[in-house]
C-alpha cells in the first residue's frame, strides 16, 4: 500500500518500522473476516484494515490522535486473529502498539477514562494492590445498584465489580523468589514468570506448574525482582511503564542465566508469553547490554505447553472419562502461533478434547478489554460460551488467566490446561474437575 511519509518522518526509527508494516499491507481485506469487532459491528472502521488505514492517516499527518482513531483503536482486542489470517505478513501487533503509544502521548482522554486507566495500570501489575482492590470490590458489590446507568463509566465500574470473584483464593507463598528443586536428578533449569494478576486470581496455576515441572526433573526458579511482564501497561500505550516492567524481568532472568544457567523462561499465562517473546523487539533500539539481553530472553521464552511438549509429558493416572472443550486463547493461537501442543497434551493426559466452532474468535477478555469495553466483551463472551456449550463438553480448558476469568461463572467449570495435566500426572484434583464430574456422570447414566 502506498504511504506518504516525509524523509524527516522516516528518520524516526519507530515511524520507519510503521512505514515498513504499512507497505506490506496490500489492502486485500482478508483480515476483516476473522476480526471479532468487524463480525459484530459490521463497520470497516472496526476492522483491522480500517484501523490500519486510520493509523496510517494519523501517523502520516503527524497530527495528534483524533477521537475517531482513539475510539476504533480502543475497540481493537489485540487478539491478533488478523495476523493469523493475513497472507501478506503484516505485523499488525507492532503497528497497533505504536499507535497506542502515539495516542497516549498526543490525546487527552476524558477524566474518567484517564482515571480508570491510571488505576488499572497502577493496581493490576501489583499482586498486593490487586488483591486489596478485589476485596474492596467484593465489599462494594451490594451497592452495585448505585451504578445502574447507561454511561460508559457506570458500565465499566459494573464490569469491574462483576469480575471480582465471589471467593478470593488465599494468598500463596509459592511465588516468593526461590528455587524449587527438581525431584530426582535435575534435567533442566527454568525460570517461571510468576506474573501479577494471575497469582491473585488463581494461585493454583503457578503451584500446578511448579509441581508438574519439578516432578519431571526440572528445577524451577522464581527470580527475585521479576514481576509483571509489562503487557497490561503496554496495551494501554504506557510505553515507559511497560519498558520498566520488562527491564526488571530481563535483569532478573539475566542474573539467573549468569548464576546457574537457564534452559527456558516458562510462561503459563499466554498473554504474558506473547509480550515476553516480544522483548527482543521492544528493546531493539535500547543500548547494550539491554538489547542483547532482551533478545536472549525472548529466544528462550516458552509457553508451558511448548516446554512440556519438548521435554515429554506422560500421565500416571487412568483416563478420567472427561470431555474438555479446549478454548484457544488468542495470545496462544494468534500471538504465539501455538495451536496443536495444548490439545495434544490434553489428549495424551487422557482427556477427550473437543474444539468449539469459531475457535479463532476472541472470548472478549483481552487483558483489560472486558473492563474498558464491557458491551463488546459481553457479546463475545456470550457467543463463545454458546459455541462451547454446543460441543457438549464437561469443562473448559485454556492457557490464559484472562480467558479463564472471562469464561468462568457459566454452567461449565474452567481450568488451566496445566492444572489438568498436573492432576493426571499425580497432582491434586483441580476444583473444576469436581464440578465437572456430575455432568459426566449424568451423561453416562
Amino acid at each position: 500500500m502506498q504511504t506518504h511519509f516525509t524523509p524527516e518522518q522516516l528518520r524516526d526509527p519507530e515511524t520507519a518500522v510503521a512505514n515498513q508494516i504499512l507497505r506490506t499491507c496490500v489492502h486485500c481485506g482478508f483480515c476483516t473476516a476473522t476480526c471479532p469487532t468487524f463480525v459484530l459491528l459490521g463497520d470497516e472502521l472496526d476492522s483491522p484494515r480500517g484501523r490500519i488505514y486510520l493509523i496510517k492517516d494519523m501517523l502520516e499527518s503527524g497530527r495528534p490522535a483524533s477521537e475517531a482513531v482513539v475510539r476504533h483503536v480502543d475497540r481493537c482486542l489485540s487478539c491478533l486473529a488478523c495476523m493469523t489470517t493475513c497472507p501478506s505478513g503484516v505485523h499488525y501487533m507492532h503497528l497497533v502498539d505504536h499507535a497506542r503509544a502515539h495516542i497516549e502521548e498526543t490525546y487527552r482522554r476524558p477524566w474518567h477514562d484517564r482515571a480508570l486507566r491510571a488505576l488499572l495500570a497502577r493496581v493490576l501489575p501489583h499482586p498486593q494492590l490487586f488483591r486489596a482492590a478485589l476485596v474492596a470490590a467484593r465489599l462494594a458489590r451490594p451497592f452495585r445498584f448505585l451504578l445502574a446507568g447507561k454511561s460508559v463509566l457506570a458500565k465499566r465500574l459494573a464490569a469491574m465489580l462483576a469480575m471480582a470473584p465471589a471467593r478470593l483464593p488465599a494468598p500463596s507463598p509459592i511465588e516468593r523468589p526461590r528455587a524449587h528443586p527438581a525431584a530426582g536428578p535435575r534435567r533442566q533449569r527454568v525460570a517461571l514468570l510468576a506474573g501479577c494478576a494471575q497469582q491473585v486470581l488463581d494461585p493454583e496455576i503457578n503451584a500446578a506448574t511448579i509441581r508438574l515441572l519439578t516432578r519431571l526433573g526440572v528445577e524451577v526458579v522464581v527470580a527475585k525482582g521479576a514481576g509483571c511482564c509489562g503487557a497490561l501497561t503496554h496495551h494501554m500505550g504506557k510505553h515507559d511503564d511497560a519498558m520498566a516492567a520488562a527491564r526488571a524481568n530481563i535483569a532478573a532472568w539475566s542474573r539467573e542465566i549468569e548464576a546457574g544457567g537457564l534452559d527456558a523462561v516458562i510462561i503459563n499465562a499466554s498473554g504474558c508469553g506473547t509480550t515476553v517473546k516480544d522483548y527482543g523487539f521492544m528493546f531493539r533500539n535500547e543500548p547494550e547490554p539491554w538489547r542483547t539481553r532482551a533478545a536472549r530472553i525472548s529466544e528462550i521464552a516458552l509457553d508451558i505447553s511448548e516446554f512440556l511438549t519438548r521435554i515429554g509429558y506422560r500421565p500416571t493416572r487412568e483416563p478420567p472419562g472427561l470431555t474438555v472443550a479446549y478454548h484457544a486463547a488468542c495470545s496462544l493461537q494468534h500471538g504465539q502461533k501455538i495451536t496443536g501442543e495444548p490439545k495434544a497434551l490434553l489428549r495424551a493426559a487422557g482427556f477427550t478434547v473437543v474444539e468449539p466452532a469459531e475457535g479463532h474468535l476472541c472470548c472478549g477478555s483481552a487483558g483489560t478489554y472486558n473492563l474498558m469495553q464491557p458491551d463488546i466483551a459481553a457479546r463475545l463472551r456470550t457467543r463463545k460460551l454458546a459455541n462451547i456449550a454446543a460441543t457438549g463438553a464437561d469443562l473448559i480448558a485454556a492457557g490464559n488467566i484472562g480467558c479463564l476469568t472471562q469464561l468462568a461463572g457459566d454452567t461449565l467449570p474452567v481450568a488451566h490446561t496445566v492444572a489438568l495435566l498436573d492432576w493426571m500426572a499425580g497432582g491434586p484434583e483441580p476444583a473444576a474437575v469436581a464440578k465437572a464430574a456430575p455432568r459426566r456422570d449424568a451423561k453416562a447414566s
Binding site: Y53, A68, C86, S88
Partner: protein, 483 residues
C-alpha cells in the same frame, strides 16, 4: 489516478441536509460522515484508486436499504454499494458526491433447506460463511473465489464471481436461485426462488454480474450441494510456463474435468510457499495444482490418468497429497496468493482476463515478453482449467511512474486476451479498472445497448455510476425517458 466524473455541485452543497436525512432513516451509528472516519472507505481491494465519499450508510434491513435508496433517488444523490470491499477492479470505489451503502451489517443466514438444497442469506454473509453453516450437514456452496474467507455473497452476485472449483461447478450465476433486490426508487422486488428456473425473462441472469449498477441485492437464495466423498490435490512441477500451459491444454482436451486446475509460476510459488509452507516445488518454473474428487477409487483412477498426461511434459516432480492437512496447506497457499505477493512486492495490480485454454502457452509467452519490455515483474496465478488468467503485476505505489507502467502493462495483457478470442474479465468484474478497455471488447453499438439496459433500471444513472462503461458516454443516458 483514474478519472472520475465531476461531483454534482448541488449534492455537495446539500451535504449537511443529506447526512441529516440519512441519519433520520438509520439507527444510531448507521451513518458515517466525518472526514477522518470516511477515509478508510475511500478504497477497496484495488487501493491504487481512492476517493473519499460524501457519506457512508450502514443499513441493517432491506427496509432500511429501500428507504436510503428512495431518499437518494428523490435527492438525485449517487450511490455506491459495498460489501466486504475486496473488489480487485475497484467495484466499490466511491465518488465524492456519492453515498456508500455498506451491506456488512446484513450478515445473517436467514434459512437453510436441506431437502430443497438451498440457503437464503443476507448480502453481507461471507462466501465461506455459507459453506460453514451447512458443512456439518454434509453440504457446501460451490463457487469459491480466492477471497472467499472475506468476500461477501452480495458482491459475488454483482461480479458473478468464480473461483478455483468453478471448472466443475460453474460460477455464481450457475449456483443462484433467487434474489431480493431494491431498485433505485426504493422498490423491493423478489425474483426467482426455491426452484431452478423462473418464469419470464431471465432476470436473475441479467442481475448477476451487473456490478451494482441495476439494483442493490438484499437477499440471496443459493443452491447448496452435497459435499463430495473426498478430494485430493496433486502438485505437478514443470520446467517452463509454456510446458505447464501445454499440459493444462492436454488435460482438458483428454476429456477429464478435474474439480480444479490451477497454475502458478515461479514468483507466485515462492511467495505462496513462504506464507503457507505447503511443500510447493521451489525449483520449478511453473506448477499446477490439480484436484480431483469423488470416492477413493474414482480419485485414484483420475489421478493415475492425469499423472500419465503430466508425465508426457517432462515434469520435475509429481506429488499427490497424502492427507487432508497437506491438501489444506496446498489450498491455503493458492487462496492466499494475492496477499502473499505482498511479501515480495509492496503493491500489485491483479489482472483478470479469460482466454480460450488452447491459447495458454502462447499468451504466457507474450506476457513474459511484456514483463521484460515494461521492466516490471509479474507473478502468474490463475484458474488455468477455464482459461481465467490472474497475472499479478508488481510495482511500487510510492513510485508513481512504476504505477503508470503497471497500468499500461495490465491494459496490454487484457487487450491480448481479447485479441486471442477471450474476454476482459473472468470474475473480478469491469469496475473502474477495465472501464476504459471496454471499447477493445465491444463496438459502440454494443455498448449503447448495454447502457440502455442500465437506463431502464436506473434512468438517472445514480447506481454505481463511473464503473463498467467508458466515462464520456456513461453519464449521458442513452435512452429517452418515458414521458
Amino acid at each position: 489516478m483514474i478519472d472520475l466524473p465531476d461531483p454534482k455541485p448541488t449534492t455537495l452543497a446539500a451535504r449537511e441536509r443529506i447526512i441529516a436525512g440519512l441519519r433520520a432513516l438509520l439507527p444510531e451509528g448507521g451513518v458515517i460522515a466525518e472526514a477522518l472516519r470516511l477515509k478508510p472507505y475511500e478504497t477497496d481491494g484495488l487501493s491504487a484508486y481512492r476517493q473519499v465519499p460524501l457519506a457512508v450508510a450502514l443499513p441493517e434491513t432491506t427496509e432500511q436499504v429501500a428507504s436510503v435508496l428512495r431518499f437518494c433517488h428523490e435527492n438525485g444523490v449517487r450511490v455506491v454499494p459495498r460489501g466486504a470491499g475486496t473488489s480487485l477492479s475497484g467495484g466499490a470505489l466511491p465518488l465524492a458526491d456519492a453515498v456508500v451503502i455498506g451491506l456488512m451489517r446484513m450478515n445473517r443466514i436467514l434459512a437453510i433447506d436441506y431437502a430443497d438444497r438451498l440457503a437464503v442469506v443476507q448480502p453481507g454473509v461471507t462466501n465461506i460463511g455459507i459453506t460453514e453453516a451447512v458443512r456439518g450437514a454434509g453440504f457446501f456452496y460451490a463457487p469459491d473465489p480466492s477471497s472467499q474467507l472475506a468476500c461477501m455473497i452480495g458482491g459475488n452476485v454483482n461480479m458473478n464471481s468464480g473461483g478455483a472449483h468453478c471448472l466443475k461447478y460453474g460460477v455464481t450465476a450457475n449456483n443462484l436461485l433467487g434474489l431480493k433486490i431494491v431498485t433505485i426508487e426504493g422498490e423491493v422486488i423478489e425474483i426467482g426462488g426455491a426452484h431452478l428456473d423462473a418464469a419470464g425473462y431471465d432476470w436473475l441472469g441479467l442481475l448477476t454480474g451487473s456490478e451494482g449498477q441495476l439494483a442493490i441485492v438484499t437477499e440471496v437464495t443459493v443452491r447448496i450441494l452435497r459435499s463430495p466423498e473426498g478430494a485430493r490435490a496433486m502438485l505437478a512441477a514443470f520446467r517452463s510456463n509454456e510446458i505447464a500451459g501445454a499440459c493444462v491444454d492436454a488435460i482438458i482436451t483428454s476429456g477429464i474435468i478435474p474439480v480444479a486446475l490451477e497454475f502458478m509460476d515461479r514468483p507466485a510459488i515462492h511467495a505462496c510457499e513462504a506464507f503457507a509452507h505447503a511443500g510447493y516445488p521451489l525449483d520449478a518454473e511453473a506448477m499446477l495444482i490439480i484436484e480431483v474428487e469423488g470416492s477413493i477409487a474414482e480419485q485414484d483412477d483420475l489421478l493415475a490418468r492425469i499423472k500419465e498426461i503430466c508425465a508426457r511434459f517432462d515434469p520435475i516432480s509429481l506429488k499427490i497429497s497424502q492427507s487432508a492437512e497437506e491438501s489444506a496447506a496446498i489450498w491455503k497457499g493458492r487462496k492466499g496468493a494475492f496477499g502473499a505477493v505482498g511479501r515480495i512486492s509492496p503493491d500489485y495490480l491483479c489482472m483478470d482476463g479469460t482466454i480460450p485454454t488452447g491459447r495458454l502457452p502462447d499468451v504466457l509467452r507474450r506476457i513474459g515478453e511484456m514483463s521484460d519490455s515494461y521492466g516490471l515483474k509479474v507473478a502468474n496465478i490463475f484458474h488455468a482449467g477455464d482459461g481465467n488468467l490472474h497475472p499479478l503485476i508488481m510495482f511500487d505505489a510510492n513510485d508513481p511512474e512504476s504505477f503508470h507502467r503497471a497500468e499500461a502493462f495490465g491494459a496490454d495483457i487484457l487487450k491480448l486476451c481479447v485479441e486471442v478470442g477471450g474476454c476482459l474479465t473472468g470474475e473480478h468484474g469491469v469496475g473502474v479498472e477495465k472501464r476504459d478497455l471496454m471499447t477493445a471488447q465491444f463496438t459502440a453499438v454494443e455498448l449503447d445497448q448495454q447502457r440502455r439496459i442500465k437506463t431502464a433500471f436506473d434512468p438517472d444513472w445514480l447506481l454505481n455510476t463511473a464503473k463498467v462503461f467508458p466515462l464520456t458516454a456513461a453519464l449521458a443516458p442513452a435512452m429517452p425517458r418515458a414521458a
